[in-house]
Amino acid sequence: MRNLKLIIKREYNARVRNKSFIIMTILSPVILVGMVFLVVYLSSLNNEEVRNIAVLDQSELLQDALEDSENLKFIFLDGMDLENAKIISLESKYHGLLYIPHTDSLTALDQNLQFFVEGSPNISAIQYIEKSLNSKLTNLKLEQDGVDLMQIEASKSNVDIHIENYKGEQTSKMSSWIKAIFGGAAGYLLMMFIIIYGNMVMRSVIEEKTNRIIEIIISSVKPYHLMMGKIIGTSLAGITQFLIWVVLGGILLFVATSVFGLQIENSSVANQEMIDQVNNSGLQTVINDILRLPMTTLIISFLFFFIGGYFLYSSFYAAIGAAVDNETDTQQFMFPIIIPLMLAIYVGFFAVIENPHGTVAVVFSYIPLTSPIVMLMRIPFGVPWWEILISLLLLFATFALVVWFAAKIYRVGILMYGKKPTYKELYKWLKY
């Protein structure tokens, strides 16, 4: 036990004192927040560009349907044929040319519109034009059939359901999105942590092999203790980094939001629909939604699932590190490790967000290789504590089994130099 403690201490210090660890820990949140601002800034830059669109309306029906918007300016061309209009539009470097042919029948018109553009058209411009023309054409058709537009306007309703849970707390329609975003971020972060810290364990095993210090160490301690000390010490470094990020990220976000006000919330959400919803339901309820997320459960679960998932995967990583002589030889063994992690992420993003308590999501949140990531994604949607507990128990039980195999490979592998082992040889090592 005394030796295990010594090893954990050394491994922890070796990780934490590493320059890249210090830089990563401090710079990552800064870079992340900086990136958010950069994206916001860039998208606002993009929005300020005004596009000129030429319109040749030979039907003379739809001109007043197109109003200039913030980013679009319509220039109406009169008394020329299509060929000339094209030349003018091209020479004036307009974004595009909208061609509305002469028509007798309104019904045929909506299929006969053309848009000429060099390169690819701006999607939101096309959407804007289609939307404007649609409503104008509909109105025209209604008028043609003798319907009174005033009447229709008056009969329009605006349904806005106020969502409350049974306790009477208001939630926004954004709520599911927020849960998905937080769950997804936590799951993704966990995957990154497992890969980054698992790799650290592997590299540190390889380092001891190439340094040839390994034999000196295992003449004093059992290989199992060395492996466990390495895994635990490195995990503590990971937890340290995570906690620093939680604190640092909190501070940075607080500073950022108080300096820039509500600007971020308004423009960082790219989806137009979501902006509508934000505006509809009010920012206050969104913030309430975030506050009402089971944050404590999420952070605590993150720590536990990180420890469990990381322990499980880093046993694999340690065994791989012991089996090879240098990092380039690790490729063939890495693949089977990455697969379940990727699977978990895909299951998370497709199954969990669609139906967080569906069969697929639930099953994958129990399977130990995928459970840390999938369960973390489910937690914001509300998972009963006993489900989390069962998942954790399964995870740690699997770890106990896997670490036994890993230790056997590790014990033999650390003293093997020379050729790259095959899976068959690894199996043989289990029996030495």
């Binding site: 030796n3 010594l6 090893i7 050394r10 070796a14 380092e207 001891e208 340094n211 040839r212 210090i213 034999e215 000196i216 160490i217 295992i218 003449s219 004093s220 301690v221 059992k222 290989p223 003293l415 130099y417 043989k428 030495y432």
Partner: protein, 308 residues
């Protein structure tokens, strides 16, 4: 003489490969025991079994009369052939860590490290990183770490590799000093001249089998062939050589002198006395060189291994 380490009928297989086949060895207390053998003979496996890095498939080991157990690790110091240190760790910190792993307390380890660093004249390296040191310098640190916890049994695998002659000598003197202070030393090497110089007992392992072991002098005695190296000053060397060839088995001798004499190796029968040989030879000329040819460890090694 009491034995510090006894191995009885040790077997070790890796799959179908036999690494050790019925090895029994006794290492007397206070001796320097040479463990010899060609590459791949099984020496390292045997040493790893003593260090409990590996378990034997069968066989028993005793340290100081007790069956070998985990806590005995603190009584053993092992300097492996393949050795290294953490590159980015500071010398002092690293030595402290390794010493603590061997069971020393931090203050104890610090005290002894200070003593040894002064003794080997590396006192100012404490805060240097290993990657800043040369290979020979790092070896010194490793040597200190091996002996720091004052183990009863020291195992050195090729201890002089990587040292320049000055430092190799320094380390050799330290090893002898440790022996005089009561430690028992197992010494594995390919450098036969250092075996000759240091070891009083040897064992020879080849292809997983022990070929011979015992006191170095006894082994040498059993390998001597009653051959004498002779230098004779005479008028007609050719004539004398022919005369001698009629009576004895002759072979060419190669030793350095300042004169110009006949140099031959003369082998006599086991029942003949060297005194008679000397009397005979003195009648033939003036003898200025007469030495019994004692087989070197090198010769014994090559002979034994080649025979198998």
């Amino acid at each position: 003489m009491e034995n510090l380490l006894v191995a009885e009928n040790v077997y070790k297989n890796f799959g179908k490969f036999t690494a050790l086949n019925d090895i029994s060895i006794s290492v007397p207390k206070g001796s320097i025991f040479g463990l010899l053998g060609p590459n791949g003979a099984g020496k390292t496996t045997f040493i790893r079994i003593i260090n409990q890095i590996m378990m034997p498939d069968s066989g028993k080991l005793y340290l100081d009369g007790e069956p070998l157990q985990a806590h005995h690790i603190q009584n053993i110091g092992y300097l492996p052939e393949e050795r290294g240190l953490y590159k980015s760790m500071k010398v002092g910190e690293q030595a402290l860590y390794l010493a603590q792993l061997k069971g020393l307390s931090k203050t104890q380890a610090k005290e002894r490290l200070k003593y040894w660093f002064e003794r080997l004249d590396i006192g100012n390296w404490w805060d240097k990183k290993i990657e800043e040191l040369s290979k020979g310098m790092a070896q010194k640190v490793q040597f200190i770490v091996t002996v720091l916890h004052e183990p009863k049994l020291l195992i050195f695998d090729e201890p002089f590799s990587g040292f320049d002659p000055v430092n190799a000598n320094l380390i050799k003197d330290e090893i002898l000093q440790l022996r005089d202070n009561g430690a028992t030393i197992i010494f594995s090497t390919h450098r036969m001249e250092s075996v000759e110089e240091l070891c009083d007992h040897i064992a020879l392992i080849h292809n997983a089998n022990k070929l011979l072991d015992g006191k170095l002098n006894d082994i040498k005695l059993s390998y001597k062939s009653n051959t004498y190296e002779v230098g004779l000053i005479c008028s007609n060397q050719k004539q004398l050589k022919n005369d001698l060839r009629d009576r004895f088995v002759l072979s060419d001798a190669n030793f350095k002198t300042i004169g110009d004499e006949l140099k031959v190796n003369i082998k006599i029968e086991a029942n003949q006395s060297p005194n008679d040989l000397i009397s005979y030879l003195t009648t033939k000329g003036q003898m200025n060189h007469f030495v019994e040819v004692i087989p070197s460890v090198n010769d014994i090694f090559i002979q034994t291994v080649a025979k198998k």
